[in-house]
Amino acid sequence: MAIDPHLADELKSQGVHVTSLEQLVNWGRSSSLWPLQFGLACCAIEMIAATMAKYDMARFGAEVFRPSPRQADLMLVAGTVTKKMAPQVVRLYNQMAEPKYVIAMGACAISGGPFKEGYNVLKGIDRFIPVDIVIPGCPPRPEALLEGLIQLREKISKEKLTGETRARHADPNGAASFPIPQYGPHDLTPVANPDIWKPMPLVRAEGGGE
C-alpha cells in the first residue's frame, strides 16, 4: 500500500514515522553494505583510499570490509581480472549470502581495459557474474567509487520484494550462484556465461572502420 508522501511528511513533523516493510528492509540493506575485502590490481589502492579518513566510506555504512564472503553483501571487483583469477572470483561470489551486489570498478573489471587483448585477461567480469554498477576510470578516483556506491544505494532502495519486477534475490527462481568456468588449453571454458552475458548486437557499416 502506497503512503501519501505529503501525509508521511506531515506525520514525520509530528514525530510519527510511517513506512512500508519494503522501504524499511531496503533502507536497512542500503545503509549497511559490507564489501568483500579483496583487491585485484591498482583500482584496489583507490578503493582503500576511499575507505580512509579523507574520503570516509564509513559515511555510507560501507566501511566494514569483511575477509569472508559469508559475511559480505557487496563484491567490489577492483582491478584486472585475469583468466587465472576469474574462477576464484566467481567462486567467491557464489559463496556470498543473498542479497548480494557487484560493483565492477575500473576499465579492467568492466571490459579488460587497456589489457583487453591480453592472453590472460578476462574481457569483463560481467561475462560470469551479474554486475549492478559499473564505474569507469583507470583507475576511478575515490569520489567516483563513492558515487557508484550512492548509485547502488539508490538502486537497492528501489528494489521490489514482491511481484513480477521483484529483485533477483527475492525471486525463488532467481539464480544465486553461477557456473564456475574451467581452465582450458588456451582460454577459459566457456569464455562467457551465455545466460547472463548478452552483448548488444552490432552491425558493421560497409567500407567503414578505417
Binding site: Y183, H186, P199, L202, R204, G208, G209
Partner: protein, 209 residues
Amino acid sequence: MKADPAAILEHLRTALPGTTLALRTNPGPSAQHSILVERESLVAVLQHLRDAMGFDMLSNVTGVDWPDPVKADSVAVVGEGGQVSHNEGFLEVIYHLFSTENRVGPLVVRARTADRGDGAHIPSAVPIFRSAEFQEREIYDLFGIRFMGHPDLRRILMWDEFVDHPMRKDYIAPDDYEYEPTPHGAVVEKAKAHYPAADSQATFSRASD
C-alpha cells in the same frame, strides 16, 4: 658505477679458458653492452662472476624470442669475439647482475638456446643465485625455455592446464574478439571477420532491435 663488460670479458677469458664469450655492443644512447655466453659455460661464468668478481646480486632474469636470428644480431652488433652462428631462430635469456659490494652494475649477460623447439633448454642459474628461481619459472611459463637443474620448474603465471607459451612471437591467442569503439590496424580485420556488414553511416552501430 656502470659495469665495464669489455674489461670483465677479458678477465673472464683469462680466468676461464675454454669458454666461448662474445661482446655485444649496444649502439643506442644507453650504450649498455653485454656479454654473450655459450650456454655450456653459463654456470661456470655466473659462478666466477659471483665468487671472484663480487657480482653478488642477480636482480633480473628475462627472456627474448628471436624467430629471426639476423634481427637479433642487428640489434646488438657483434663487437669482438666472433659470431655465434644460428641457422634458425633461438630464445635468449638475459641476466642483470649487480655487485652490492663494489657498487657496480648492471652487468648484462646473455645466453641462447640452440633452437626454438619444444626442447629448447639452458642451464639453470638457481644453484648459484636463488633469486633466479621464480623468474626462471616465469620464463619457462611464457617462453618455454627449459632450465636444466631447476628444482621446481612449473608454470607460475598461467594455469597448469595451459598449453603453449604466450610470449613467443608466433603464439596465436584464441580468437575471442569483442566490440571495440575505435578499431584500427589488425583489429579492423578482426572486427570485419566477427561482425556482419550492413548499410549504415556509422562505422559501427547497434542493430535496431
